[in-house]
Amino acid sequence: MNVLLIQKAKRHDREAFTELMRSNGESMYKVAKAILKNDEDVADAMQETALTCWEKIETLKRDDYFKTWLIRILINKCNAIYRQKKKLISNENLPETVVTEDEYTNVEWLELLKCLEEKYRTIIILYYVEGFKVKEIAQILEVSESAVKGRMVTARKKMESFYRSRKEGKLI
């Protein structure tokens, strides 16, 4: 974490803010992709997050919480977009997908994550990919640390169950 950049960005230094956001771009994409279905929505969420952060960065209480704060804003944006889409297609059933053993190698890892519910997907990304600690994830998602731990274990169980059912050629 580059605290100097954060300090500059808090004073609305455009260059510093841009560099800061670029350096977090991949993390933002992975987290947003874990929640939203298509890249167009992900791009919208990243755009809105960048704008909100730019407007509100001086409200950041602790510099070392920058990434936690950023991801929390991103998740809120993703959820808002998700809710809008859900309202628009409320009666539309999502198509069922069959993934067979042969197709497995071609399935992107992030897509594979979609077999989990959103609350598990986000935690998996935040913990294993972005390296947030349980306490930090609890802060991002406003849930207790024990809930985070619990969801991590449940996610693992669900993934194992998914592998088993996929082997048997069941629907996901």
Partner: protein
């Protein structure tokens, strides 16, 4: 299990961001809007803060040096609430309700009663005033650091919304340690309790720490406070991995402080409203400084059939080792089975004028809001089931539309 590890490793691979996503992101960054109004306000605020600190320093150091008797007329200990109560997150009028533990001696900035002064590692802490609304203890202290450097503590905003309110800032000192009550069975750590206040000079800080008791005792007690570490962010030393790490002082500062509970100015109101699927509000607690909403949130626990000890060990072996290596107690299988897995739930609250209250935290089924001097005669409280449904939104109509439960509470 191998498949799961493979899955995680797959996720950890570098991800190529699609060109169209990155282009839009870059375009946004290249067209960031001007925030001149806020910037001016921020600058103004900083000038105001800097000017007032400079004035205090100039007056205190220059004028009082020439006229030491006057220096005694600017007391600190015993009047810290007065200095900081407008600027902290849980702002309000504490000076008329807080209990003064000790005041200053005349002609010296030393406490009359040193019972509440402790010193270790070049850091002297004097507890100054205390107030308890039943849910939290609010304790003020003067912190003197021999090595200095406090002038560089960075400030954070404490107002409800930037640009909408008069903007306030405070400076923070982090703490680590534990607290307990002498007679009550309550205790906890200070993970979420830090000092908020202001720097008086390079060696002196005054601030308030808020310790949540979570329960609502009506009798006074003695607070045992054991600080093991203090630290702060430095505005200028800004390029390290963990900025506050360079300003942490470990030591042992233990204080025992009596307090009484203000039952006259606080109210506990039973609500007991629930949705069909079990989300509800059982009661609210209102004090001059905060609102606490007690929520009922559905939960499940695991049983041994659906989650065996082998499952637990397989899932937790590595983490357990890490936790043990860090000198902490790991979660056991038995504990884990008892652990309540709460559904997600969030809460927001508005007063009779439709003004949203600043939410400070949601923890253990309790939503805590800062009253910030707001007149509260009636509350409208909303519960949401999905992230962002009702929090971070100041438009009551939007919140109402997303909420799964709305409750009106008469406070006065």
């Amino acid at each position: 299990m191998k498949r799961y590890e493979e899955f995680i490793e797959g996720l950890q691979q570098d991800t190529e961001i699609p060109v169209e996503v990155w282009s839009k992101f870059e375009k946004t960054l290249s067209e960031l809007p001007e925030i001149s109004t806020q910037k001016n306000k921020v600058t103004k605020r900083w000038i105001k803060v800097a000017a007032s600190v400079a004035a205090v320093l100039a007056f205190g150091v220059g004028f009082c040096y020439a006229n030491p008797t006057l220096a005694a007329k600017i007391p600190i200990i015993g009047r810290i609430f007065e200095r900081i109560e407008d600027d902290v997150t849980f702002s309000g009028n504490y000076k008329e309700k807080g209990n003064i533990l000790t005041a200053e001696q005349e002609n010296a900035s030393e406490p009359v009663d040193t019972t509440y002064t402790v010193k270790d590692q070049g850091v002297e802490i004097t507890a100054s005033e205390i107030y308890c609304d039943g849910y939290s203890i609010f304790l003020t202290a003067k912190i003197q650091v021999e090595a200095g450097g406090l002038s560089n503590i960075s400030a954070h905003y404490t107002s409800r919304f930037i640009g909408e309110d008069e903007e306030t800032t405070a400076q923070g000192i982090y703490t680590d340690g534990n607290w307990s009550l002498k007679n009550g069975n309550l205790s906890g750590n200070l993970i979420n309790s830090d000092f908020e206040g202001s720097v008086l000079d390079d060696n002196t800080y005054v601030g308030m720490i808020k310790i949540n008791l979570d329960e609502l005792p009506t009798n006074g007690d003695v607070l045992n406070l054991q600080l093991s570490q203090i630290g702060y962010d430095d505005l200028n030393e800004a390029d390290s991995e963990d900025i506050s790490a360079s300003h942490r002082i470990e030591g042992n500062w233990s204080l025992s402080i009596p307090y009484s509970v203000d039952t006259e100015n606080t109210r506990e109101i039973v609500v007991n409203e629930k949705t069909e699927d079990g989300f509800g509000i059982s009661k609210v607690f209102v004090s001059p400084y905060q609102l606490v909403v007690y929520m009922d949130i559905p939960y499940t626990t695991l049983n041994e059939d659906e989650f065996t000890k082998e499952d637990f060990e397989a899932a937790w072996a590595e983490k357990t080792k890490g936790i043990e290596d860090a000198g902490e107690s790991p979660v056991t299988y038995e504990d884990y089975l008892k652990e309540k897995q709460y559904e997600y739930c969030e809460v927001s609250a508005f007063n009779q004028d439709g003004e949203v209250l600043l939410m400070e935290e949601i923890e253990n089924g309790q939503g805590v809001f800062a009253a910030k001097g707001m007149d509260i005669s009636q509350l409208q409280i909303f519960l949401g089931k999905e992230v962002g449904d009702v929090v971070a939104e100041s438009d009551i109509n939007v919140v109402r539309e997303n909420a799964i439960l709305e409750v009106d509470v008469e406070v006065k």
